[in-house]
């Protein structure tokens, strides 16, 4: 069971307890959302890298040097 740690500023008492069902459901949703975000981020990064490599190759085929491609 995942825990919740809470500090009350007024009393100075820190408690550790099990998550409630509602808290557990909220965190499960967060994990699901986060997994989707990571997948989307990975896909975007991969596409960007592939597009750059493809574009660089086409520029090189036109006769540009590596320095000219890097300077764009």
């Amino acid at each position: 069971m995942t825990k919740v740690v809470e500090m009350n500023c007024e009393t100075g008492v820190e408690t550790v307890r099990d998550m409630t069902d509602a808290e557990e459901a909220e965190q499960a949703q967060m994990v699901s959302d986060y997994t989707d975000e990571v997948a989307a981020q990975e896909a975007a990064d991969t596409k960007r890298a592939e597009d750059k490599a493809s574009g660089d190759a086409k520029l090189k085929a036109l006769g540009l040097t590596d320095d000219e491609i890097a300077a764009r």
Partner: protein
């Protein structure tokens, strides 16, 4: 009256929790600053953070931000049930990440609108880090003092991570 910046309280993770709450925040100042310190050894920004106030999970949180994560730049606007600090706490695919989030909210006592700003930075053990800046607004349906702040993470929060609150008076 001279301005003041006073420590109000701090909660520290013990390594067993995915949720941390700082409650009973004293209603003694005009503004409040919240400092989050995060670290994880899990992959993909595991300390990703949802921040809620007063245990409120209504659609009362707005955030406009821009930032850089590794070599990519982003801008976003959201109106959701929490302040979503995802990716800001972990910049890439590598593990052993650490991060810092600073959120400043004005009028934290007895107001409907609690506007503010945030800034966060993170680093992992190989990539350049992530940096985010933005404006935030906590806007419950009626006047409410901010009495607690909660950090919900995707994974277990490492021991010694923390949320600290500071109160500010300036007039």
């Amino acid at each position: 009256m001279a301005g003041t910046y006073d420590f109000l309280g701090k909660v520290t993770a013990d390594g067993s929790s995915a949720v941390m709450t700082l409650s009973g925040i004293p209603q003694t100042h005009q503004d409040i600053e919240l400092i989050f310190q995060a670290k994880t050894d899990a992959t993909y920004g595991a300390s990703s953070t949802d921040v809620t106030l007063n245990g409120d999970t209504g659609s009362n949180y707005r955030k406009t931000s821009w930032g850089i994560n590794g070599n990519s730049q982003y801008g976003e606007a959201s109106a959701t049930t929490h302040f979503d600090i995802n990716f800001g706490q972990g910049p890439g695919i590598n593990d052993d990440m650490m991060g810092f989030l600073r959120m400043y909210l004005v009028n934290y006592t007895n107001a409907v609108d609690h506007p503010g700003f945030y800034q966060n930075s993170s680093w992992d053990n190989q990539n350049t880090g992530a940096q985010w800046w933005g404006g935030v607004l906590y806007n419950p349906s009626s006047s409410a003092a901010i009495t607690s702040v909660t950090w919900t993470a995707v994974y277990t929060i490492e021991a010694n991570c923390s949320i600290a609150a500071y109160g500010i008076d300036y007039s």
